[in-house]
């Protein structure tokens, strides 16, 4: 739709009329147009790739009832607002913003388009027409941490992080808590690179960590660069993030955390079509299949695989929670008492490191 005065008027009239028609207005005739805003490219083999797989599943399962569009490489900042507005004006009635840094933009634009449903991945701010959703990746990281605790010879791991936001901090903590259950001396050093996707910097960060004695790398950035360095240097290994990255590092990838967003996208779109959508936070994990553990590397001994599977199954059946006390913070002071489990709200605001993390400044 070109942007001219007539179209803007039309859009305005339509927007004004919609509340009268009620939300079932979308159900008949026109397909529900769903927009996706991605921080990187769908070809990154990681985070954005996984979201696109979810989008494809949505198209496949709901067929003619939906129509999807996506915008790649949207920087976190003012550009995101423009993209969101553009999607809204193109007629998207449901928009998924899939990066933490889009939060402010989503809230701002959602105020201007009250008839459009927004969902923000990994966010914490909601409004009447803004819901949030996430996946319990930290459950997957607990499985990876278990493997790392068993296999690491130096007892030192590195963690390439993007930004020290709760989502990432939570992952680091879950990883090291799990590893320390196996090896109480296990430590981890996070290196934040201030970017979700800068492969050259991710690779250099991996080199810097390996040079200083770590032999396991975990990451919370979008691509396989760190795993490639792990492969090249022949260290114990690392873990795929968001998708199976074994093509890039067949020896070094021990296993991977796979994001499976499709079910959430199908469920949400169906709810919008049915008029039953409501603003809430959705945070499923291993049990619901939204987080999956990829294939284990053949090099991992059977007893370690069994230990990892036990942690995975424990989280699926609810008998094991990595964030149950006692948990000390990085200074050694008790943060969570024995028998206490952190709530979701506490996890989503996590800004402290557990014992075993060499905290960045």
């Amino acid at each position: 739709m070109t942007l001219n005065r007539r179209n803007i008027l039309k859009a305005g009239v339509a927007a004004a009329a919609l509340p009268l028609l009620g939300s079932r207005a979308f159900a008949q005739g026109e397909p529900l147009k769903v927009g996706f805003v991605l921080v990187g490219t769908i070809n990154d083999n990681g985070w954005n790739y996984a979201h696109n797989q979810g989008r494809l599943m949505l198209e496949e399962q709901l067929g003619d009832a939906v129509e999807t569009v996506y915008v790649e490489n949207v920087p976190e900042g003012p550009d995101c607002e423009r993209v969101l507005r553009e999607l809204a004006q193109q007629g998207c009635k449901l928009i998924f913003a899939t990066s933490f840094g889009f939060g402010d933009s989503v809230i701002k634009v959602a105020e201007q388009f009250p008839d459009i449903t927004f969902e923000h991945a990994t966010g914490y701010m909601r409004a009447a027409n803004v819901g949030t959703y996430n996946a319990r990746f930290h459950e997957g990281r607990a499985v990876c941490g278990t493997i790392a605790g068993h296999l690491s010879k130096t007892g030192k791991a590195g963690y390439i992080g993007s930004f020290p936001i709760p989502e990432v901090v939570m992952g680091i903590n879950a990883f090291v808590l799990a590893a320390r259950k196996v090896n109480p001396d296990f430590t981890i050093t996070p290196v934040f690179i201030s970017s979700w996707n800068d492969p050259a910097k991710e690779a250099d960060a991996a080199r810097a960590m390996i040079d200083q004695g770590i032999d396991v790398i975990a990451q919370h950035t979008d691509g396989p660069a760190a795993l490639q360095v792990a492969e090249e240097r022949g260290i114990v290994g690392g873990f795929g993030q968001g998708a199976d990255m074994s093509a890039f590092a067949p020896k070094a990838q021990l296993t991977s955390i796979i994001d499976n967003w499709g079910p959430h996208y199908v469920k949400t779109a169906q709810a919008v079509i049915d008029g039953t959508w409501e603003s809430k936070d959705s945070w499923p994990g291993l049990a619901e299949g939204e987080v999956e553990i990829g294939p284990y590397n053949e090099s991992i001994p059977a007893d370690v695989v069994a230990a990892a599977e036990a942690v995975k199954q424990g989280q699926i059946d609810g008998s094991f929670n990595i964030f149950s006390g006692p948990i000390n913070d990085h200074t050694g002071a008790e943060k969570v008492a024995a028998g206490v489990t952190l709530t979701d709200a506490e996890l989503l605001g996590m800004d402290w490191y557990v014992e075993g993390v060499n905290p960045p400044a």
Partner: protein, 307 residues
Amino acid sequence: MELIIAIIVTVVGASTPILIAALGELVVEKSGVLNLGVEGMMLVGAIISFIVLFTTGNHYLAILCAAGAGVMTSLIFGFLTLSLSANQTATGLALTIFGTGFSALAGQGYSARPVTLLGPLFPAELATHPIWRVLFGYSALVYFSFALVFAVWFFLKKTRAGLILRAVGENDLSAHSIGYSVIGVRYAAVAFGGAMAGIAGACFPLLLTPQWAERMTAGRGWIAVALVVFASWKPFRLLAGAYLFGLVMTMELYAKASGGPLSVIPAELWAAMPYLATVVVLVLISVRRDASSNAPACLGRPFLPAN
């Protein structure tokens, strides 16, 4: 000791693409043309080298094709700014946007494909001892970047062609009036800059991380542009500058990975340091007027002879 060696090797890797791209841009600017499209040309070089490497498996062919692709891209810029006298700043920015988009388009379907890095030039036996590794442990691209510093310096200072190029950059009308083809010289300089930016781009999948990812140069083309000013258009100062930038970029990561005292400096400040250094140098240059900024007098101005 081992750690220092490792840091040196990583710094060399991080600095090489910046150095090559900046040397190309230095020659371009010496001819009086400002091409801000380095980042875009690097991305074109990166994807073309990746595609060639993936299909043929030949690293050197990949480098060659990246250089060729850089030349082609830079000639678009050359045609617009030199033949049509378009604004150089705006055209250069547009070239970066074009290169970003083109590389993303050409790279579709290549992102899930791993390749292999370009190996060291010298046999591994030479690089077994750490000390020798510092000298002989690199790939051909690194030695090429060293040779290029000397070549550019020699060309600009010691050859007649270099003198003409500098004359065109300092006073295009005078050069024109004594019979030199200003446009021709500038086309050649722009093409050279494009070739170097293309090779600099090839460093990413060949030297740093063996994959294609959109925008994988991540702003290093801009550092190269800043570096030319930082070095006041002098090749050896540029060499020092490129390694300083590379050192800062790498030390940031080593400092954070060590968890030691250096990691107290916030990540954002580390990331901003190359740019802060550029600003400081620019201020110093403008304060020391007598030393002059050394900027080519015709930099960025279109050549419009009276007749």
